[in-house]
Symmetry: C2
Subunit: 371 residues, 2 copies
């Protein structure tokens, strides 16, 4: 019923009965229940309507709030969204990869509180915090290890964050969430099988298979970076360490410098881009040859220069792939992980709370263990 | 209803009502329909039963027949099965990779007719012929290309076989069918995500994801062999061309000779096995790192020597994989593709004919276009 109302404008009971396949009396019962829960509200008739118009209802996307958090090695981003996934406020803080755990946790708290301050709602309006971060994350929200955040080592991150925020907490691998965002609001919208290449100072992949986030049997899917033949671990050095980058350029700006120079035809930069895309193409080709996806999305920090990277990547993939998938640069940029976290939270809402047999309570007041 | 009866022994109406969730009168109606179609029959009461026993019914697995065919470059195999997938008869013929199309088609016809002759049923008892073959096969049964059968080039194989056999014809990639057989009757039984390594004179992979055969957007999934870094195209030469293989050994026996010598500790043969498994491990690791499957199955011709190949393969995978899946040798041997073809045909039956809204006719008399 929520799906029949979400994002589709106000609807009458007859429209909802048709969309859901329920009888009109059953539709009325469900809508009444949802209204009393605060998830649905009646919309006043349009001004100037003649006679007695049919009552119209809409999903109350502002009936609760979600925060998506991207905990990277170098940045912590957060975004506040309504229950339709519309972003209302954002924060970003720089971080140090080797920051001690307490410092990183304090930054996460500031990120979420900052969003609430900016966006207006209070902690009690917060239904869910969904986190994307680097490394091996179990479905229960425990971090086994991460190659890029030193404090991430056999850590019950979900447990720590649940002590911090009095609401539901979800944790998932960042590249997987970014891939999800591409299929919900990005260039892969509606595609069934998607390979997301998460490229930047760190390289990763996220897979969407048959429309669903692919986690793998032990939550370790998407780690083609570990295959030595890809040389993905050191690939970013080709762009960061290019000879044309001026001495003293901060590491976070180095690759952008090289990519901009390549765009302007600098031969040294073009050579660096060539070496980088050659490595990128090995891992990308492995994924394409194995899975034959509908689309490959280039995302992450370097994807702002997708115009420079896509032509040489396409050229190399065409040489080895039996069938070329669509190849697109992400348009979600640095926000891909927070947006994916928000979309993941919305999926969780749809699955556990707005489902026909879901709990008839706001998520914030349902004890964690019932999910 | 067929699922509730298949493979589970005779059942009473009460048992069937419980298994299907239907009311008892509805169960009776469906069972009566299926009986009149010849798909279900009543079983006589056991001898010596006292009083009036409940009527018992069973699925008539012998009510129709299926043939699975494996069209390889060097061999054409076929197996006749009942509707439960039990194999009743088999044939094998040697073939030449460069045989002209007419010769290959004639061999396919002999393979199927040979199975019928051996097993007893006539052509009119044949419900389905399911074929596995090398190369890129579209869902409609057209072969785009094959690296190992020269006559397989932009060929409407399904169309040709439908002219040959008056029944339903299905065509699918052979490695995918072998992977399916492993999940239905092999070492991967019941696993959700499976990577099947099809190794022999030709190398391939088949993927089962979320319990389903993964075909890919353009039916080109599983082709990691095309990634140059795997060196899979030439990997079989390590075993076939080992110095210890006696001159004049037929190519089909060469690798077996090397593997047997390695089993006995011959250092030259062990070195060849080392080089082969090093290449095998690159493609296997790419699949494991990307997908994090529950199990990897080593199948195909060389898998008869899985005892020799698995330890060095495991050793190499453990060095690069974040999480080691189960690693097992196939027990289906050379029959893996024909068995997979039979299992694929049974899936097709379940989906299109035994489904609640399927056609109320034997597949052989339903026009092809209605499926």
């Amino acid at each position: 019923m929520i799906k029949a109302l979400r994002g589709a404008g106000p609807a009458t009971l007859s429209m909802l009965a048709e969309r859901t396949g329920l009888s009109r009396p059953s539709t009325k019962d469900v809508v009444d229940d949802l209204t009393s829960l605060g998830w649905v509200e009646e919309v006043p008739p349009a001004a100037g309507t003649m006679g007695r118009p049919a009552r119209r209802y809409r999903f109350r996307a502002d009936g609760g709030h979600l925060v998506g958090v991207d905990i990277g090695a170098h940045n912590i981003r957060a975004a506040l969204a309504d229950l339709d996934g519309n972003v209302l406020a954002e924060t970003r803080q720089a971080a140090r990869p080797d920051a001690p755990l307490e410092e990183r946790l304090a930054a996460i708290k500031r990120a979420v509180m900052g969003c609430l301050d900016l966006g207006g709602p209070t902690m009690s309006d917060l239904w869910m915090v969904a986190v994307g971060t680097t490394g091996l994350v179990t479905p229960e929200g425990r971090i086994i290890m991460s190659a890029s955040i030193s404090a991430w080592k056999d850590l019950n991150l979900a447990g720590l964050l649940r002590e911090m925020f009095p609401c539901r907490v979800l944790i998932e691998n960042d590249s997987r969430l970014a891939a999800l965002a591409e299929t919900r609001r990005g260039v892969a919208r509606g595609a069934g099988d998607v390979v997301f290449l998460h490229i930047g100072r760190r390289m990763g992949t996220g897979l969407i298979l048959d429309g669903k986030l692919h986690r793998g049997f032990g939550a370790a899917a998407g780690e083609i970076v570990m295959l030595p033949e890809t040389r993905w671990v050191t690939a970013p050095d080709d762009l960061n360490g290019c000879a044309i980058v001026p001495k003293g350029t901060p590491i976070e700006d180095a690759a952008g410098f090289t990519l901009a120079a390549a765009r302007n035809g600098d031969p040294t930069a073009l050579d660096a881009v060539g070496r980088f895309t050659e490595k990128l193409a090995v891992g990308a080709a492995a994924a394409v040859l194995l899975l034959d996806p509908e689309i490959v999305v280039l995302g992450g920090g370097f994807s702002r220069s997708a115009d420079v990277l896509l032509p040489p990547l396409r050229h190399r993939l065409e040489r080895v792939c039996l069938r070329m998938p669509k190849l697109r640069g992400s348009t979600l940029g640095d926000e891909c992980v927070v947006l994916g976290a928000i979309d993941y939270a919305i999926d969780h809402l749809d699955q556990f709370f707005f489902a026909p047999d879901g709990p008839a309570l706001r998520p914030a007041v349902v004890p964690e263990r019932t999910v």
